[in-house]
Amino acid sequence: MNELALIVFAPLIAGALAWLIDIKGIREIIGVLGAAVPLGYAALLYQKVNGGLSFAINLGVFKLTFALNALNWFFLGIGALVGFAAILALVSTGRDSYEWLFALMSLSGVLGVFLANDLMTFFIFWEIMTFASFMMVLHYNKAASLKYFLLSVFGAYAMLIALGMIYAKLGTFDFAQIQQAMYKEAYAVAFKADTVFSKGESILIYLLFLIAFGVKAGMFPLHVWAPDAYSETNQSYAAMFSGVLSKTGVYGFIMLYLLMGTRLAIELGGFRSTTKFGYIIAFLGGLTIIVGGLLAALQEDIRKLFAYSSISQLGYILVGIGVGTALSMQAALFHALSHALFKGLFFLIVATIVYRTGKTTFADMGGLAEKMPFTFAMAFVAILSLAGIPPLVGFASKWVLFEAVISQNLPVLGGMVFFGSAIGFVYLIRFTYAVWFGQRPTDLDNVKDAPLSMAVAMAILALFNVILGIAPGLVARELNKIFGKEVIGGNLYVLDLGFGKYNALAILIYLIAGIVIAGIIYFMGAKARRVPVTDTYQSANPVTMDYNLTIRRNFFLPLKETLAFWLRISFDKLYHDIGAWIEDLAEVLRNYIYNGSVQSYAWYLAIILLILALWGV
């Protein structure tokens, strides 16, 4: 058996076994093993990245082909790592064998998407992944899963149509062949020769892929499924859902660039210092950052907060991809990695909190740092990483991204990206304080720290957050390998872009020095009175319940009121209204048409006969 086949199918087989055996204890072991195989092989295959490893299964009509290269090894690594951590955490939170089956099935789907070497394989595994993740949501909430599924089916069919159009013209699904044909097309356009695809068709294919990948990546305005789906599922699984599954959309956009980037760039022309089609992606990404960030700040539910935050962070990646320079692409890939790492960690933390307290809203939380010190430490890493504070991985990737956008002279996008960072602090501060500090509700007095499996899972991700943060050169090396040239220079600890430099090690040293100094001052100087968490109060002012802006309740109400006008424009509501309208229309139609009277039905026949007669037949 080929390594690639093992990577792709091991989780699926393990999931099926876990589902069939369904004995508590055994199914967990099988499941974790199933997730460990891809991780192990991904590590082993690091040596063989450029060895042209490939694998094919002949299904007759279509062949499933897989191949390994530097780009998809990078994504494979992300997927296998975060997937393994999420599966590990599932040991504690998994409710039944059903969840094991579909969680592992979706892992198989994701890895299949990353390793696919032709569009058909890509699509099939895309659908397996969508379907399995849908089943995970369906387990918890019908409305959320339905919304997710409808948008996914919409995206999937958009992709299918694009596939069909490409196949109808080129007769192949193979990535390399399509890429070649599209290059030829680009030259043909440049020299005004005849092309296989007309301008309209290539734009249509582009738009269809934009929809297909946009849905999965949670791009505005197709993001509406994500907040509900991420929050209405097993939270351990959400780590994979948000951390890895959304990356398939990102990967798809990169494939779009690889397959037909040149063609589209020449066909559609440029915009400022980038291409027009790329700018559309980047601009939608920028809107995603803002919308996701603002809505994240207004949530009262931790799960929802991170769901919106995840959408917002995905926006950064889209901006990076859309700008389209080698540097911004690298930045996007880098951020894809760090997003998976810290967002996966965040969802595992949320999973732990939900698992231990059974509560999900800020209003019910507080003072957990004392009760769950380990989880708090993990949360500390995740918060610093997401907020972009050195020396964690989140800073490194965001920094490269900022530099990439600014160096291209794109002020609007730059503004959006900076705004996103600021709003990131806004919602993180709330999570930091409302959950971990402050007064603890009395019913949380007996909360225990994370169970072992979740603690290990979190520790793995946190470790990577720190290591790759201190040594961002590790990632830069891989990214340069993908592009085949040195875009980000420097060494293990230093990122050098030519016009800017970031030395993670130096910052780490400063940071440690600062902490040491602060510690000395703390221990030497101050006579601090130890304040128990139950002894904190809001302020001297009386607080009325209708304008109660504690950090746990409606903290950002003023923001909400300021944005009231914009918040009313909700795509979620728009889609919902369209859906409801169609259903009402359907009901009316059905009752009028199939009204039960056979005489009316006979009239339908007579009308058709009349139409036939009038048609002149």
């Binding site: 056979v598 005489q599 009239w603």
Partner: protein, 113 residues
């Protein structure tokens, strides 16, 4: 054009009218039967050749003296089928009347939507 064609089309339309306009289920079925008769007449007249005899091989009647036999065979079949349909329909209507106590189509519409 053959006058039988007009007669048969008229019969079909009369039958159709009964189905479309009469509220009583039995009258609708009568309409259906009239329509079938019209169709049968049409079939016969397709094969009819003026002045020839019935297609029975007997003394003095050779194939070129007879009308086309195939439509007649068809009509025989169609009549049988029509009878079967009508019988079936009537038995259904009997059952309907027992259950609904009415023959008005406007009231026989529990199944809808």
């Amino acid at each position: 054009m053959n006058p039988y064609y007009f007669a048969s089309i008229a019969l079909i339309l009369i039958g159709l009218y009964a189905i479309l306009a009469k509220r009583n289920v039995l009258k609708m079925l009568v309409g259906l039967s009239i329509m079938e008769t019209g169709v049968n007449l049409l079939l016969i007249s397709v094969g009819y050749v003026s002045g020839r005899s019935a297609p029975i091989l007997s003394e003095g009647i050779t194939p070129d003296r007879a009308v086309d036999p195939i439509p007649q065979a068809l009509v025989l079949t169609a009549i049988v089928i029509g009878v079967a349909t009508t019988a079936m329909a009537l038995s259904v209507v009997i059952n309907l009347y027992e259950k609904y106590k009415t023959l008005n189509v406007e009231e026989i519409r529990r199944l809808r939507g």
